[in-house]
């Protein structure tokens, strides 16, 4: 019987082309009409260290990384040692014949291929090893290599005959698989696509969304796993009429983003946890001076330097609360790669409409995973701009009172003049009256904090939420960010076991959509909150504000959840109100 999807792992040493081979394989599978979603681990060091590329490929859209490895390809012994525990009971191992011996338990379901030797025979170099691996997978999955050959030629166009050598290795790997390996990868063939598809990473989608929203000023400081946003914009923002600047630190990046936002730009920075820590004071300024700005935080495992190349959802507290005083801001979290694009646009629209910093929380697994998604119709993704001033009256030539930049409107949103047009005023983080003049009276402070917080209320009521499952269910899974796919699949697993289950994923986390969470929660017998963090940051927020009982499921492995992990946790730990185990 053919499987609906298959999870492959390539495991080897950094520098052996594990990641580049995986990228090309994913793209080839995508072009063959498969849906795909990848996950990768790599060392924090530049040279050496184990590295793993995982891709789940199937005929239907892939929601999560896959519960177990169906096909493990080992470039070396260490790859086997580190990854074989992830292989399922019926999973297959293909090992490099020269360097890897598999253990007894895989007898009968493991095969050897002399990857390096084949590459050397057909191309004169052992460096095509990873292409022999890609060819092997193509042979096993019956994927036509023509598209992959084109990709290889493009990728190595500037490297002499490396492209041709790689193609020879690819074809030799494919031929060997078709001739010498049994048919061990029986996967459903994809049907015709309903829409055009693209293959990109979360960070790439964020860049596209930001540019669609009108991004024209970017400043950032290199940090894993956000650096590729800086690099991507440095390479192309000038083509969109904007500037990208690598600053001396994250403080400078955030300060300049606020300066640019004040001057009328759509401005953004991208960082990870340590950088967000440095930006905290300025996020408070942005909230107080009411300047639109977008901050991308591609979260990694903390605290401190932590595990820079591993994923975690541990910056929610600092995103929602970081900065002294009580500084209003908005926090949003995309759940998939296409949602990264939409949320990047949402972030700018919210920043512009509400004149506030917006922090978008991605994470390493989402930022760097490649995912096939339907190509978005950009003409249907609306872009909003801030409320400026049509005619504030020119102040030319007369000593003027400042424009009432912080006028107390019922909506809390005051028109914002742009320097270069009439309406001069001083933007400031000091407590201020309507004209921006420093003022420390009790009345002014109360009125201005009211203004800055209450203007965000409509977001809690109206922002996007995705739900699956029935309105009344035994199990509700409530979460945020990149865990959604695994949660939805976990709900499907539970449903198949006869336990009704639903999911609820709000995009805007601060301000928290309290009433909507409560309304959904009322239909659930028990609510589980899976988070890739230690303390259950979202669960604590929801408990405090919604006053509903929650069951936390926290895991800090540096890896995303699998659907099976969530489903198993629920089966093992959750009892319904009636006291029966699920």
């Amino acid at each position: 019987m053919a499987l609906p999807d298959i999870t492959l792992q390539l495991a080897g040493e950094s520098g052996e082309g594990v990641i580049s081979g995986g990228d090309i394989l994913t793209s080839g599978a995508g072009r063959a009409g498969y849906w795909a979603l990848t996950f990768r681990t790599y060392p924090a060091e530049i040279k050496g260290g184990p590295c793993m590329f995982q891709v789940r490929i199937g005929a239907e859209r892939i929601k999560s990384i896959g519960n177990q490895t169906d096909l493990l390809i080992c470039f070396n012994q260490e790859g086997f040692e580190l990854q074989h525990a992830t292989v399922g009971d019926e999973g297959i191992v293909i090992a490099d014949a020269e360097s890897c011996k598999v253990s007894e338990e895989f007898a009968g379901r493991s095969f050897e291929v002399a990857f390096s030797q084949i590459a050397e025979e057909v191309s004169g170099s052992r460096r095509g090893k990873n292409m022999v691996v890609v060819g092997t997978v193509c042979g096993l999955l019956d994927i036509d290599t023509a598209e992959i050959e084109q990709l290889i030629l493009q990728r190595y166009a500037h490297k002499g005959d490396v492209g041709e050598a790689n193609i020879a290795s690819l074809k030799a790997g494919e031929k060997n698989a078709r001739e010498n390996l049994p048919n061990v990868c029986n996967v459903d063939k994809p049907g015709p696509a309903e829409r055009e598809r693209i293959l990109l990473s979360g960070n790439q989608a964020i860049v596209a969304g930001a540019l669609h929203a009108g991004l024209n000023y970017f400043a950032g400081y290199p940090i894993t796993p956000a650096s590729d946003i800086l690099e991507s914009l440095a390479a192309r923002i000038s083509r969109f009429g904007g500037v990208a600047i690598q600053t001396e630190d994250e403080i400078s990046a955030m300060a300049s983003v606020l300066g640019a936002g004040y001057a009328g730009a759509k401005a953004m920075t991208a960082t990870s946890g340590p950088g967000l820590s440095l930006m905290s004071e300025l996020i408070g300024l942005g909230g107080t001076a009411e300047i639109p700005s977008v901050i991308i935080d591609a979260m990694r495992a903390g605290p401190s330097t932590g595990m820079p190349t591993k994923t975690e959802q541990s910056d929610l507290n600092q995103a929602a609360y970081g900065s002294h005083g009580e500084a209003p801001r908005v926090v949003i979290a995309p759940t998939t790669v296409d949602d990264c694009l939409q949320c990047a646009v949402d972030a700018f629209n919210i920043a512009e409409t509400y004149q506030t910093p917006v922090i978008l929380l991605s994470d390493q697994s989402l930022s760097h995973r490649l995912e096939t998604v339907d190509r978005p119709d950009l003409s249907r993704i609306e872009v909003e701009d801030r409320l400026t001033v049509a005619d504030p009256g020119s102040q030319n030539g007369s000593p003027a009172s400042a424009f009432p930049r912080y006028k107390l409107e019922p909506s809390g949103i005051s028109p914002m003049p742009i320097p270069g047009t009439p309406g001069a005023y001083v933007s400031t983080g000091i407590e201020h009256d309507e004209q921006g003049h420093p003022s420390y009276t009790a009345e002014v402070h109360q009125a201005m904090q009211d203004k800055r917080f209450k203007k965000l209320d409509p977001l809690a009521a109206n922002a996007r939420v995705t739900t699956t499952g029935p309105e009344k269910a035994t199990i509700g899974i409530l979460g945020w960010g990149s865990t959604e796919g695994a949660a939805v699949e976990a709900a499907e697993i539970l449903t198949a076991q006869g336990v009704s289950a639903a999911t609820f994923y709000p995009r805007v986390l601060a301000p928290l959509p309290v009433e909507r969470i409560k309304a959904w929660a009322a239909g659930m017998d028990a609510i589980v909150v899976p988070e890739v963090n230690y303390t259950g940051q979202f669960a604590r927020m929801v408990r405090a504000d919604c006053e509903i009982p929650l069951i936390q499921f926290n895991q800090i492995t540096g890896h995303p959840f699998t659907a099976r992990q969530i489903a198993d946790f629920i089966t093992a730990n959750v009892k319904t109100a009636a006291g029966a185990a699920v």
């Binding site: 030319n396 003027a400 320097p419 000091i430 003049h437």
Partner: protein, 286 residues
Amino acid sequence: MPETIQRDAKDFKSDLKPIWCPGCGDYGVLAATYRAFAELGLDPDNTVIVSGIGCSGRFPGFVNSYGYHSVHGRALPTAMGVKMANPDLEVIAVGGDGDGFAIGGGHFPHAARRNVDITYVVMDNQIYGLTKGQVSPTSLHDQKSPSSPFGNTEYPLNTMATAIAADASFVARGASFRAKELTELIKAGIQNKGFSFIDAYSPCTSFNNTTQIWKDGVKYLPEDHDSTDRAAAFARALEDPLTLGVYYENARPSMVDQHDALKKAAEPQTVDGLLDGYALNIKAAA
């Protein structure tokens, strides 16, 4: 561009009264700024003054123009963002010696080497005034203060030499009490297309009253000083710190110029064009 309107220095006064102590040097720097703006014919709607925190932080409120009162030490990166987002604006950053060389010291060499087209005026009183008299990065060795009760164990930063080392494209020293010369320095700084640094002695009458010592001690660079000679500028910077004038000039493309060139050279793209690069070229079913 709006038509040029003749303006007087008083046209740049806002309706806020400065809150500085009597005799504070910052009044002189403010007055020189009004005059420089008037003489250059700046448009208040097209001018932005950026400050950090400290006594100097309130400066933008006293000027009839756009202003931005940032957090402590971040005037320079803020001003870079304003200028790079809208290069048509005239952007002036102001601050004190603590704001600029202590908490904000990490930004100074980078603003200089990038040659951000802004003018940075530091009101240097060699003390923290707003927090009541602690030593600053430009305080003298052995100087006594509430935070150096036994005398300052640290040595002052040579701001002229630092700016020349970072290759700021205009480096000058002025003084609040030499108003005419300071006005000229600010005008020259604004006219320089690049990062202009003007360190203006601005005595604090409350916590480090150097008014008389400085008035008695200042002198000017000799007329034959060649400000385009970096080595000569360094040599002067290592001499008597009370020497006023333009130490160093290095005309070179500004950050705005360089990014404008990138934009001009770039082939325009659309986001749809960007997405084409990720396309899998799967034929969608009709």
